[in-house]
């Protein structure tokens, strides 16, 4: 077992390299948080935990190095092919991780996973106490600042499209073009990390015009009911469509 190494005469290079890699991984995690790009990978509640654990790894690596070099050993510089490839892999991953362009998952993934208008949720609907008795939509003011995920959650509990006619919307998302010439403004909802990102969106009753797929937009408008493929659907009738830069927190939770 490797714990015995501390008492051996020789110190394998691989052990030192492993310790350095450990420290690098820890630093990498901390770097992501400090550079404020952690939002592209993990959910907000995990971010501090990630940072702290990164710190733990870094500290453990430093202590380890201190101990190893404190006990003067002869450095044994052979390394096996398996170990070499492991090191190479890790270095590659760390490099990719540092230089990876920061962006949300693309509209292509959204298209493959199928953007839908159905999303159950455990969390309370924002601003509305959904009294079973009330049409929860009496107060326009309550839904004024709903984002796409909020709207979709509301649809899942109250799916009747007629209940939404003339409700004001103001949402942000990325553009996905639809087969019939209209486009959908979408977001990814993430629970754990990007692997489970589920696309959701609102259909916008307008052509793409100068917009392209993957552009981020801010849409002001109101909701209407339109029949699409024989089904009554809630769509957005936009009054203002503005291009915006990709937000630093592209996922909804």
């Amino acid at each position: 077992m490797h714990e015995h190494e501390a008492t051996h005469e020789t110190l394998r290079l691989h052990t030192v390299v492993q310790t350095v890699l450990l420290g690098l991984f820890g630093s990498f995690l901390m770097y992501l948080k400090v550079a404020n790009v952690l939002a592209y990978y993990v959910r907000p509640d995990y971010q501090m935990f990630t940072f702290v654990m990164g710190g733990v790894l870094l500290v453990a690596a430093l202590i380890n190095l201190a101990i190893l070099f404190g006990q003067r050993h002869q450095l044994h510089v052979t390394i096996s092919p398996a170990e070499l490839s492991q090191v190479f892999l890790f270095v590659l991953i760390l490099t990719l991780g540092v230089f990876l362009p920061r962006r949300s998952l693309s509209a292509q993934v959204a298209a493959l996973r199928g953007t839908n208008q159905n999303l159950l949720s455990g969390s309370q609907l924002k601003n509305l106490t959904l009294n079973d008795n009330a049409s929860p939509l009496l107060h326009t003011a309550s839904t004024l600042n709903y984002n796409i995920a909020d709207w979709i959650r509301l649809f899942s509990v109250n799916p009747e499209p007629d209940n939404y006619v003339d409700k004001k919307v103001n949402v942000e998302g990325f553009v996905q073009s639809n087969a019939d010439g209209t486009f959908t403004v979408s977001r990814f909802v993430v629970t754990c990390c990007a692997v489970d990102a589920t696309p959701i969106g609102l259909i916008v009753d307008r052509g793409l015009n100068d917009l392209k797929t993957d552009d981020w937009v801010h849409i002001d408008g109101k909701l209407e009911v339109k029949e699409i493929n024989g089904q009554r659907q809630v769509v957005v009738e936009p009054s203002d469509v503005k291009k915006i830069p990709q937000p630093s927190e592209p996922y909804l939770y």
Partner: protein, 307 residues
Amino acid sequence: MFSLPAITSFFSPVQATDYLNIFFSILVEALPFVTLGVLVSGLLTAFIKDEWLLKIVPKNFFGHIVIAFLGCVFPVCECGNVPVARRLIEKGLPVSQAITFLLAAPVVNPIVILSTAAAFHFAPEVIYLRVGLSLAIALIVGWVVSLHKNPASLLNENVAAACEHRHDLPHGWQTKLQTFVATIRHEVIEMTTALVFGATIAALTTTLSRSTLTSLAHTPLLATIVMMALALIMSICSTVDAFVALGYYGRFPVSSILAFLVFGPMIDFRVISMLRTTFRWRLILMMAVLVSEMVLIASVGLNFLGR
């Protein structure tokens, strides 16, 4: 299930970025939990005596039940469980009980139960069935493994060797610290390697087409198989997989959703690669087969209750 055009255009910049994004999200999300599990494992190695542990957990079958609930004490998600389990085995825990722990702990703990309850508050049967089935399967598989006459043969070479050389706790604070950090180093690197392999496969879900998935699942049984395959590949932490399963609720029957929730925490590519650090293939295979069978039985059973 995997969109062919997407695979062939794999090296387009957008696709590559998507793939790497998912890969890193898995890695960055899991690494802190692995660290936590390794910290616990390190503490066990350096600071906890063997006898103390053996006192709490009886050797007979009842011990399985106790250990199944040990997940409540170490709620570290399935990423962090394997190092803990390995330490426990080296401390003298029977292999079969360690298996029960590995299978039960990811689900039978307060965080996962709460998260499942939050997601499926409108269908409480999902919560009870998930916990109940996971517990039952963990106990049954643990029992089957306990029938094995030579459990040591199930262990990885290094681990088996460590068990033979079981020695006392290191003396003195300096040696303890040394052992502690050395354990962390060694195990984090080992687990991260496993994690990387798991993430490489899981990130292939960039090419996953939902419509193909749905069309494949044209009977409830196929839906179950598809969800099990999805759980196997996606390798999601049990603390949040309830919300992922929620996304499939409208198109897939509850029986298949449960299969996803019970099978996923027990068997997925990430877990398999981490198990490989401690156990032999024949044990991993047996676990996989048994768990799959039982999940299928439970799921089809639910079909008969309309679900």
